[in-house]
Symmetry: C3
């Protein structure tokens, strides 16, 4: 029951530690508050271990990484592992530079990750060592489509099996797999790609969903993806003439703010394969 | 006259130097512009002394502190003290980690502060060395309520007397004391806690209010608290069906943008004890 | 044809590398998406060369510079020069501190800049070594007015000729010169100065316009200025009672999102001198 996963977030108010980029960090904080979680941000290596200790989950996003914050990611990640906290990696721009690719790979090697969530170009980079990444957006050549769906499901399932992490690939069609089942999700709107940070927001929110649903992590990850996509649909339906991507950004977070378990349950558009 | 305090901000256009966190910094800048002030941000130790010199006040917020920005906080604070500028400390997350607590305490020891503004958990940490801080939000166990109001007023008044700083504790009921009088303020809406950074915004705006009202600093601090709370009420009254925390954030800043002295005077809900 | 310049952005989807301040970075990203470009942010010296290599242009904004990001600006700028990419400098706060002035001057000396875009106080600082800069906003004593227009045009033209860069000075009247022609632009609204970052947004967008219009760089720079000003007018016309600077910010980006070449062509208010 995806709806129950969302209700658990509202009831349990998970505290999420975010080491994330400075581009979209405000929206990540607001969407965490909107879904019922509580955000805290800290990237200073001397600060992160204590901060992550009082949280339930850690969201690592490498969108504007620097040497200091990379050190913070490893310190926080290791402490979170020690405490058996949920850890999510969002490998923003993996494939676009060596520093990003190598940092993401090293995090995968040294930190036990509950979830890896990215666009298909980023995930391909991590899984295959190559992709056609174009900056921080997925390349169209990499897209998950109805035509290549079966192959993509196998790819994601295998990568999940190999890493031991839930893998969430988001795009026009979203895939969430734990190595066994694979959720195929068709919520969302293409216009969401015209807003910076919907992926970053999803990563923050997904971390909260996993913290609040320790016994149903795969379902919780899928629920977060459905919630974000559904919010994109609800937000779009409230757009008025002249509204553009900036207003749309607000309306999506607003839709998360009002979403309850029943709305999510009814609006989620997915199949389990 | 609280209204006059706000009018002075619009007339005098105080320039405020902010060393603040990257989560809510954009909203801090926009609320400063909305109230009639002018914001500038700088945290590089080599840059802060000159920047603070051309300003009238300094707003230090430790929300995403790092070693470099901590150095900047001390350099800017000492220069601001030298020039007799207004200095405000917002000890975000004091109590949540040693680095945050120790940095806030050291700032209190080494920099003369006109105001310390935080939630009750943060202020208790600084005053008593302990609290039940839960991340960056106040813990419910610490809340100022009608039941414990007298004791809380005494606590805030004593802490103000001991430190020589105006102390502003914000929450469901806000307290502002200079060691003698204590403003008890009941403006605001509970939904404001679902937006990241209303506290940070208040700290930026309060710094501007103090700069523009050098002879009525306590009243200026109380006026800023009332203005923020009243903006929360006005913003909420303009919410339409489906609007959530992201739209509410805009509406609060919008309400500050339109607030004049008369509106503040009429809408302020406070008593002086 | 200014309209054609905008259409080229939408068709060619230029990828722009931004080393910009953390105050307005989210709006820079969203306005780049709104106009049809694609943003990427990176300031870590080890990361910037590869990131800028996959982009078409580089937008350097010194609004919250620090020692690490300054190093990143030079590394990225030199690599971009090597690759003949478009490079724009936004010297935020030049004149307000030595670090800002010196960094901007050194960037001008060591990096070939296609455009320098700032307010009149910042440009005067770079051209004359002095101004009456007040923080990050232009001082009224420096303003371009109908009265001093001829002198200002000469000043901007000469500075452009001397530097070899297109110079764009924005304010109530905007000037864009390549040393030969000078566009005098009268789009925009005074209320835009009550939003943080409209200048930063313009710099990001202007970089995209130049990348998409390699053979008409001066016209592309002017088109970006007209587009931003026109968006300010369209956004303002959509304001409702009670809306303030925060909502206005959204409406301006929304207006860019919907602007096509024809709208820009019709709404642009400029003369070429």
């Amino acid at each position: 029951m995806l709806g129950k996963c969302m209700e658990n977030v509202r009831t349990r108010v998970p505290l999420v530690h975010n080491i994330t980029n400075y581009v979209t960090v405000n929206d990540v904080a607001n969407v965490l508050l909107a879904c019922g979680g509580s955000p805290i941000m800290s990237d200073e290596p001397e600060d992160v271990e204590e901060i992550t200790s009082i949280c339930g989950g850690l969201n690592i996003n490498i969108g504007t990484l620097n040497k200091r914050s990379i050190e913070g990611m490893f310190a926080a990640g290791k402490k979170a592992n020690e405490l058996n906290h949920v850890v999510l990696l969002d490998p923003v721009g993996a494939g676009a530079s060596s520093l990003r690719t190598n940092t993401a790979v090293k995090i995968m090697e040294e930190i036990r990750l509950n979830v890896i969530r990215g666009n298909i170009s980023e995930i391909k980079t991590l899984a295959l060592g190559s992709s056609t990444t174009k900056g921080v957006d997925a390349d169209v050549a990499d897209a998950v489509t109805e035509e290549n769906l079966d192959a993509m499901i196998s790819f994601v399932r295998e990568f999940s099996e190999r890493t031991g992490s839930i893998v969430a690939v988001t795009g026009a069609i979203d895939l969430v797999s734990d190595g066994k089942v694979c959720y195929v999700i068709r919520n969302g709107r293409p216009e969401m790609s015209k807003i910076t940070g919907t992926g970053c927001q999803l990563s923050g929110m997904m971390t909260a969903f996993l913290v609040a649903n320790p016994e149903n992590q795969t379902e919780a990850a899928a629920a977060a993806v459905c919630a974000m996509g559904l919010a994109g649909e609800i937000g779009w339906s409230r757009m008025q003439e002249g509204d553009g991507n900036s207003t749309y950004r607000n309306r999506i977070i607003d839709a998360i703010f009002h979403m309850d378990g029943e709305t999510l349950e009814k609006g989620a558009n997915y199949e389990v394969r």
